[in-house]
Amino acid sequence: MQKIGIFIETRAQGLKPATYGVITAARGAAHELYGLVFDGKGAEYKEELQDYGIHKIVDVQSVEGLLGWNPDSWARAIIQVMDHFGIHILLGLTTYRSKDVFPRIAAILDAPLLLDCISVDLKTLTAGKSQFSGKTIATFKVRGNHTLFGIRPNVIEARPAPVTAEVLSLQTQIGDESLMVEAVKKDPAGTMDLSEAQIIIAGGRAMKNSENYRILYECADVLGAAVGASRVAVDAGWVPHSMQVGQTGTTVSPNLYIACGISGSVQHFAGMKTAQVVVALNTDPQAAMMQRCDYGIVGDLFEVVPLLTRQLKTTLNRE
């Protein structure tokens, strides 16, 4: 029985839904899946996690209770969990948090790590990931006593496969770290996490100013979408960097990406090219984004977006 650990990411509202895709990828006939939970709510997540095939839910704790956020402590705690249960393969989402924890685990274990994978095969220990700003897909083969994979959110479709899970708890021994997390400053805007959004509507140069983003927010409200931006809009100071989609911003893979007045630079494509469906709205039919979208409308976004919001309201409310 191959034991596979899955780093379960949670937030105030509960499990990150993109986690189910990771669990789906980890399943296999002879696999026993361990879900590692850090917020002490393993029992609360039992039904959701077992629906997707997690066999053991491990509440990872310290002697004093919950492990406060510290990437070095979390890395050490995960290694102790892996040692305790004999887990040699660890999977998780690729998020800011896992990008801070997984490399630390890999470094301590001297184990290979592939982050931002768009496919993974645990039988052959191979995974695909984009390189060179998304211009190529590399298939990696990893070798090692332990192997770690971070999956890009939303690239693997979640399919339920119910089992009955058992909830365990493990006290890890964590000493003092030289690195200390002093504080976490919450973004006052409370921006929706772009990397996980199922639908994103993003605005670029044509937005012209900060106020105009209001029309995107109105449309996003109807769609339950997050609002993103291109680098031009961020550099101009119209929106914060946390909204930037692209190579130097957030990499996203939503089901639907609506690009409004974004011409489509290489760097922007690098951040959204694995979106399932791309819609482009642009006055310029020659814009790269128009050439590389699924559906395009040539037109002024200040006319098209409010129309879209209005018609979506009618269509979606009717159901």
Partner: protein, 255 residues
């Protein structure tokens, strides 16, 4: 104070990537210093200005051509360079070992800067491996940096726009994010001066590294193909929007 900056020689983002054989790229394209590494050098230069008595050493692992990236680092403020010469591109497990050996051979690091990621392999891990090898703390995706009394305080970008404040003692490793600073454009005199700054070349083989417990190997490289329909919807704005909603519902089934 001894400040090391790890830099990488990478293809320009605008370069057209051509695949040769099954797992290599044609390297006859424009290469640049990894953009985030420019933020790392800028931070190092700022720190040198703050402490006064400091030396900045830029380190890279690469082929001979990587010297141009070291020259860029020298023009932006590094005092000298170290090129760990290798004819092949090792994975991050080997690279971190090589960087550690080269730095230790050169001197005691008070602080090491690098970019938060490399834009070519996008592995997100070399600096963490270097930190573990040197047994020093690492903070990545740093957007604000302060040093006082040999204690570093940094702000790191987290999800949903949140910022984490981290404190760690020297020596440590700082991975620079884009928002950390505005890298300077070197002036012509800077570039001229950089030509005269010393670069020491070390052969990767001469470092006598131990073998990692694992490996990451690219077995196949292929162009990313996009299968997009590029269907431009005609008609008045009103009609086009109606048709778009229909397509998203019935054909693409995403709303």
């Amino acid at each position: 104070m001894r400040i090391y900056v790890c830099v990488k020689h990478v293809p320009d983002t605008a370069a057209k990537i051509t695949i040769i054989g099954h797992n290599r790229i044609d390297e006859k394209v424009t290469f640049i210093i990894n953009p985030y590494d420019e933020n790392a050098i800028e931070a190092a230069a700022g720190l040198k200005k703050q402490v006064g008595d400091a030396e900045i050493i830029a380190v890279t692992l690469g082929k001979e051509a990587a010297e141009s990236t070291l020259r860029s680092a020298l023009a932006m403020g590094a005092d000298r360079g170290i090129l760990i010469h290798s004819d092949y591109s090792p994975d991050s497990m080997v690279t971190a070992r090589a960087l550690k050996a080269a730095i230790e051979q050169d001197g005691d690091a008070d602080i090491i800067f690098s970019g938060m990621e490399s834009i070519d392999s996008e592995g997100f891990q070399t600096m963490f491996r270097l930190g573990a090898a040197l047994k020093v703390p690492v903070a990545n995706n740093v957007v604000a940096f302060k040093l006082a009394d040999r204690l570093v305080t940094v702000e790191c970008k987290m999800d949903a726009g949140n910022i984490e404040v981290i404190r760690m003692p020297l020596p440590c490793i700082v991975g620079a994010g884009k928002a950390l600073n505005q890298p300077r454009y070197p002036t012509l005199p800077d570039i001229m001066k950089a030509r005269k700054k010393p670069i020491r070349t070390i052969a990767l083989d001469s470092l006598d590294l131990d073998s990692p417990a694992g490996s990451m190997e690219v077995v196949e490289l292929r162009p990313a193909v996009e299968k997009r329909r590029s269907k431009i919807i005609a008609g008045s704005a009103e009609e086009a929007v109606r048709e778009l909603i229909r397509l998203l519902k019935e054909e693409a089934r995403v709303i």
